[in-house]
């Protein structure tokens, strides 16, 4: 078991030793969005609505989810005007 640093070793001001990119803040999500590219109109609304910034638009213009940071809230599926997002159980 690795021992965590004591108060005298930790940086002051509660400075984080990890970048926020390295925290898998979505690892507890139960559902993740699944995109149907047949129906997707590349409107990118899901990208803008995602409260976590976990949906990025790829070079082709399609949305892609960052599963490490997606919490599975389903806002994207609710907002998608083309109804192309389905929330599917991931665990």
């Amino acid at each position: 078991m690795n021992k965590k640093p004591g108060w005298q070793e930790l940086p002051k001001g509660a400075v984080s030793t990890k970048s926020s990119r390295d925290y898998a803040t979505g690892d507890w999500g139960i559902e993740k969005p699944k995109f149907d590219r047949e129906k997707c109109t590349k409107c990118t609304l899901c990208h803008f609505f995602c409260p976590e910034g976990a949906i990025q638009v790829n070079d082709e213009g399609y949305p892609e989810v960052d599963e490490k940071h997606c919490k599975g809230c389903g806002v994207c599926a609710e907002e998608c005007p083309a109804n192309c997002i389905e929330m599917v159980r991931s665990k």
Binding site: K4, P5, G6, W7, L10, P11, K12, G13, A14, V15, S16, T17, K18, S19, S20, D22
Partner: protein, 404 residues
């Protein structure tokens, strides 16, 4: 000692004048009586081009301190000022400023908390913030306000400290009362405060100065749960203890340029005192007068002025009290439901383990600006003398100057 000029300034103006000479990077404040003059004067300095400060006219005190947190985290020297309900609105952010170890300087023109609404002086505002991790200095007069508003930066920014600091001045009694204030030359103050120094921390992008810098990104105070929060709080405890070591060094340096320096606990005619009063702020000036009168009457009375309240200077207080065995503790604030006022609780607890403990009685006075006249204070000394004669404290907590 450097050349000084004598000015007529009220306490608020003394604070603004000192801050002008320090020339901080950011001042964010919202006006509230009796602090308003500080912000008004300072905004005039900004408008007249006398400072390089970015003045942020915010919409509330919550925003004022939040702006200071952001500015200070980015490496700026940040100053704000408030009073009473303004400080109450800052509450949430006071803990964030200290938890993130940001050396912000804040002047607090002490005023009673509403309700009922009252704009006059007592210490209920800053006493409520005594556990927020801020250093607290209470000033006796306008000169001390000026001096403290310069020294405060050196205390807060000391590498061993890195904590925010409140310079408390009694509302109206100090804030609006014009006094003779000796001020240093601008360049002398500039040299004394120098540039803000930064500690080095190990962030996720490696070792860097403790400030937000896009070239070496740093995350300050993110979610900090069961496994780290406690350790970070212990760091704050340790930093507070360091303040007690750092202040005498800074006072000595300030004494060299100004000829003035202050003890954390200041003694007045304590040498052979049989009874003494301890308290905070402007009342201590009145007590000097009362003690002089009592001494003329042959009464062995003394006074202890507690200039530094947080951290609580335990050793200095024990030493300053010396052999005096009857101590009255003045509190200008009520800690509702508690066994006495806040200062009384601290003082009494301090002596609990000591065999040579004094007899201690608490006097809660001056709430909502109720006058602390020499006659009232003399009456308190009379009860202390009675305790000295009888060896018994008949009533621990006394509310003085209030109608029955």
């Amino acid at each position: 000692m450097k050349k000084q000029i004598l000015l007529g300034l009220n306490g608020d103006e003394a604070s603004a004048f000192a801050t002008k000479q320090v020339n901080p990077d950011v001042v964010a404040a919202y006006p509230i009586t009796p602090q308003t003059i500080i912000v008004e004067r300072f905004s005039e300095y900004v408008a007249d081009g006398e400072v390089d400060t970015e003045f942020v006219a915010v919409e509330s005190e919550h925003s004022a301190l939040s702006t200071c947190v952001g500015a200070s985290a980015a490496g700026a020297r940040a100053f704000t000022a408030t009073a009473a309900n303004g400080l109450a609105l800052m509450w949430e952010i006071t803990y964030i400023a200290s938890g993130l170890r940001l050396p912000i300087v804040m002047a607090v023109a002490n005023r009673a908390l509403s309700g009922p609404l009252n704009i006059h002086n007592d210490h209920s505002d800053s006493m409520g913030a005594r556990d927020s991790g801020w250093i607290q200095i209470y000033c006796e007069n306008g000169q001390e306000v000026y001096d403290s508003c310069i020294e405060a930066w050196m205390i807060a920014e000391h590498p061993m400290v890195q904590l925010p600091i409140m310079v408390c001045l009694d509302g109206f009694t100090l804030s609006h009362t014009m006094e003779n204030v000796n001020v240093l030359q601008d360049d002398v103050v500039k040299e004394f405060v120098g540039e803000r120094k930064f500690i080095t921390v190990e962030g996720h992008a490696g070792e860097t100065e403790f400030r937000l810098n896009p070239d070496v990104p740093l995350t300050m105070g993110p979610v900090d749960l069961q496994d780290y929060y406690f350790e970070h709080k212990l760091q704050q405890v340790e930093a507070m203890e360091q303040v007690l070591k750092v202040i005498p060094e800074i006072e000595a340096k300030y004494g060299e340029i100004s000829g003035r320096s202050y003890d954390m606990v200041e003694k007045y005619r304590m040498d052979d005192a049989e009874v003494a009063l301890i308290g905070l702020g402007s009342t201590m000036g009145t007590i000097r007068f009362v003690v002089d009168q009592l001494r003329e009457d042959g009464v062995k009375a003394g006074m202890l002025k507690l200039r530094l309240y947080r951290p609580f200077p335990e050793e200095a207080l024990i030493e300053a009290l010396g052999d005096t065995r009857v101590l009255g503790v003045l509190d200008k604030a009520v800690s509702f439901g508690a066994p006495g006022g806040p200062l009384y609780q601290d003082v009494r607890s301090l002596f609990y383990d000591r065999e040579d403990k004094p007899l201690v009685a608490n006097y809660i006075y001056g709430l909502g600006g109720r006058d602390a006249s020499p006659m009232l204070l003399r009456g308190i000394y009379d009860t202390l003398l009675e305790i000295h004669r009888s060896g018994v404290v008949s009533r621990n907590v006394n509310y003085v100057g209030v109608r029955e």
